[in-house]
Subunit: 423 residues, 2 copies
């Protein structure tokens, strides 16, 4: 198996100023094409350290992917280190990157300085892949067997996360065209509401009976649930697709509506798609989630087509005055109750005229709980013209995580209701 190492360069990572997300994004993509990531390293902007570390990683791996250390002010250290490492004695200017630099800066109304022009200058030992999203070019250094005992390739990417991510399709193409990777086919299923360990138990028999060349990966995320990825290594594409289809069909029989999507999806994008397809609208009424559900829904581009709005009713006076929750409900059952979230969900539908609504009321903590209504308790209401249902759940985490779980659990109940009524 082709083996890779990822190396991020930058003092800002070592002093804890920046969390390195590039390594994780790169390794996700490499794993998808069947390249194993053996190690990730972060080092500072130090020429000796850069040369020493990269030499070692090139000796131990087929591919080394470097990010960072290429900003206009730091340029020299990394580029000179790569020049020395690759035995370059001269620099060349990449005209394509120079044009991109001119275009990017003039679009921002900025003057082009010498340090900007210098970014298009690279060691003459590398191939350049233009970076259309930023000023620093992507550099590819190929080393023959004489150097590290085996063929090795070093890719140098910009450190800005969205530029690094933008470079990955080109890197993947280059890796594929220079290595004989076995074909891998993937299918993704998004699930919500069952923890990884419980999910594994539910599908244990099915998983154990998978053929040897199929592999199942669990990728859990507190907000989007557990992503299941079924992969098949090698073989003809049509056969692989057919075989994966068969296995997925059995899996869907077991999991039912625990599965919410067969794409790489989130609960809010899935809800948005169903609503948009059916021309239906949504509103939310939030207490303990404080606007988090509304913010998740509107994080999706185009959500204005189906999302009307939301009321965060943190004070009881807003629950009664704006959402029309009867005062008697609050005095009799409390604001954190099935009755209250039902009235909130119905109230916001009436207020906005939406087809669907979701409401939350709970105790995020750290204070405010009681024996009967502990910290971590949430009531959720979902409503449509077909009726209103309520649910409760208890989570035992800190305030931030509790609010996140409240919101994603509410989105999941909404998703199930919408899917059942509209499909």
């Amino acid at each position: 198996m082709i083996q890779a190492s990822i190396c991020t360069i930058g003092d800002e990572i070592l002093i804890g100023q920046v969390v390195d997300t590039n390594s994780s994004n790169i390794s996700l993509v490499l794993n998808e094409i069947g390249v194993k990531v053996a190690r990730m390293t972060s080092i500072g902007d130090d020429r000796g350290d850069i040369i020493g570390t990269l030499s070692e990683e090139l000796r131990d791996n087929d591919i080394v992917i470097v990010t960072g250390g290429l900003g206009p002010t730091k340029d020299d250290i990394t580029k000179n280190a790569l020049a020395e490492l690759s035995g370059s004695t001269a620099f060349k200017t990449d005209e394509r990157q120079l044009e991109i630099i001119h275009n990017l800066l003039s679009a921002r109304g900025l003057d082009i300085l010498d340090i900007n022009i210098a970014q298009a200058s690279v060691p003459d030992t590398c191939e350049v892949i233009p970076n259309h999203l930023g000023t620093a070019p992507i550099m590819v250094f190929r080393f023959d067997e004489a150097r590290f005992g085996h063929k090795a390739t070093l890719y140098s990417l910009p450190g800005v996360p969205f530029e690094a991510i933008g470079a990955l399709p080109d890197i993947v193409d280059d890796i594929k065209s220079h290595n004989s990777l076995s074909d891998i086919y993937h299918r993704t299923l998004m699930t919500y509401g069952v923890a990884e360990s419980a999910l594994a138990k539910m599908i244990e028999k099915w998983e154990d009976s998978l053929p040897e060349d199929m592999h199942l990966a669990y990728l859990p995320n507190p907000l989007t649930g557990v992503r299941l990825r079924l992969s098949i290594y090698g073989g003809r594409k049509e056969d692989a697709v057919k075989r994966i289809d068969t296995e997925i069909a059995s899996l869907k029989d077991i999991l039912g509506d625990i599965i919410y999507s067969e794409m790489d999806d989130t609960l809010e994008s899935c809800i948005g798609r169903i609503l948009a397809e059916n021309g239906k609208t949504l509103a939310t009424a939030e207490s303990c989630t404080g606007g988090t559900i509304s913010a998740l829904i509107t994080s999706i581009a185009g959500s204005s087509a189906y999302f009307l709005g939301s009321v965060t009713s943190y004070a009881n006076s807003v629950k009664t005055g704006v959402l029309g929750v009867p005062e008697e409900i609050i005095s009799r059952y409390g604001a954190v109750s099935s009755e209250c979230v039902a009235a909130m969900a119905e109230g916001v539908r009436k207020l906005t005229g939406s087809d669907y609504s979701v409401a939350t009321s709970g105790i995020a903590g750290p204070g405010g709980g009681s024996a009967e209504k502990p910290v971590g308790l949430v009531w959720i209401g979902v409503s449509s013209e077909k009726g209103t249902e309520t649910f409760s759940a208890v989570f035992k985490s800190n305030r931030k995580r509790n609010i996140e779980r409240f919101a994603s659990t509410a989105l999941n109940y909404l998703r199930v209701k919408i899917a059942n009524e509209l499909k």
Copy 2:
């Protein structure tokens, strides 16, 4: 200077399933006490790799901090590797950790299995610091000069982020008691609204005139602004505090209300503090930010004391019907206008009875812009009984980042208004 290396162990990091945040949190704390982090490495759950990498890091550094690889199912690999590395031939049970394991599991209503009990068993070459937040103990291995050419200490921490963070005070105490670190005193100032490079230009003269033993660090964050940390190395504490006070006073003269706090703070916690101290209340009316401001405000524990609620008016019908924005304003000036956010801010104050309000309307993108009102434009309104003001700004990022910037810019205008009127 004492030098450290941070090493995270776990296949889940190498396949990109989990983003490593422990390294960043640990390095922040180490930097604060004057320990330099030279390298961060992530490796898989592989005994040979663990021993090889840790040996190298112990050879090159005074301190090595390891996180992860200690879950009940993976336990053996890391612990056996650490036993081998430290020349241990027997394990011992730490009774304090065993008691914690019993308490934690019974509180969750779980049976105690053999694999749980095994977590309290550690190589007899280590000292144990009990982990009160989880089942895996913190292990400290001390190596003498004969082994790596200098004294070296390895700390093994659990991988669960909140357990790792929870262990850091004990680790810091241990490092301080075993090393002669020079004393460092820090002061933090939170700023918002001026980019790092522009801020550096504003305070260039002041910074250049700082005495040699004082150091200024810029820690930028898109949501909370640029944090400035002024540190002084060595000397008597009273002198250091007095000298820092003097420098901070000059800095405040230059920056004025760009500084929003002298604590490690966020805009929303700062706003909450001022409101609570003055017994004033707040409501928000959001269009483009979709509930993000409301969610930030309510992320603060105790926010129900001053936050009444919010209306996300995504559809114009909610702007007019719920917030009472006159239809004429929308038809004449558009929903993204000074007039509209002023009416939204005043409308939500009237609706909820709050003392203060903030409103947003803008174009987050990717679609929807025009030459006159481009993608990235936001209008912000802030209102109190003393009057309503509006502001506009343009950001050029993707939808997610634009929404974040809209929200934090709005919070900053609100913060300035509240601070001016209440202090």
